[in-house]
Amino acid sequence: MMSGKEYTTFMDDIIVRTVTRLMVPLILLWALYVLIHGAGGPGGGFQAGCVLAAGFILYALSFGLEKTKSIMTIKWISLFSSLGVLIYAGTGLLPLFFGGKYLEYGKIPLINPIKASEYGIEAIEIGVGITVMAVMLSIFYDLSTERED
């Protein structure tokens, strides 16, 4: 008989584990595509972060929570969740040194102001994606951890 702890995972199911091993890299790659594609089409930082977190959650559902926590540890998650905010704020503060306002990327002396705006938005999307992935994974860890009592 199965114990109560194994109800939530598919650790003994070879079909789910094989397809998960095949699909998780593709999901992460597609999340990067959504992240980069956000300026010129559907997508963006929040969506890419959610897809990245969904890849890790799928891995956790089929290989168990402990293995996922050994790959993406709590320490890395707290680091990532603050790193994204740092990227966002740093990119926003960068135009202040060239005489612009906060988040005014056109003032950054790159090739031309349009390109500078595009790259600035991309950098901010990367920051948003990293933070959203970390916070989503943190919520998932908190919800799926068993209570002590």
């Binding site: 199965m2 109800y7 598919f10 199911d13 079909i15 789910v16 397809v19 095949l22 699909m23």
Partner: protein, 120 residues
């Protein structure tokens, strides 16, 4: 009428008919196993046929852009590949979860909880 339009209409109609069959099965069948049986198969082939019709329409329609004729059908092909990979496995996972938590099964003699063999 353009023969490509007729082929595209036929393929997408078959896909929509399959989706309709899956929806009727979801509404009419008695328990969770039969409903997953109806939707898991019909969704995979129905959505794939609709996307196949869109691919044929995109390749043979009179667009001037050459890049769109390659990239958009390639993305749709990836979506079809994803459906064929993910949809049966998701059906299998939901079905197995329902089996593990002992969801009752409909039989002609009444509702019944299927027990796993103890010998395994």
């Amino acid at each position: 009428m353009n023969p490509v339009d007729i082929i595209v209409t036929l393929i997408m109609s078959v896909g929509a008919l399959l989706m309709l069959t899956g929806s009727i099965g979801l509404l009419r069948l008695p328990d969770v196993y039969c409903r997953m049986h109806a939707t898991g198969k019909c969704d995979t082939l129905g959505e794939s046929l609709i996307l196949l019709g869109l691919i044929i329409y995109q390749v043979y329609s009179g667009h001037e852009l050459v890049l769109d004729k390659v990239i958009v059908p390639a993305k749709m092909l990836f979506i079809i590949l994803f459906f064929f990979l993910a949809n049966p496995v998701a059906t299998h996972a939901i079905m197995k979860a329902a089996f593990i938590i002992k969801t009752p099964m409909w039989t002609k003699q009444g509702w019944k909880v299927w027990q796993k063999e103890e010998s395994r």
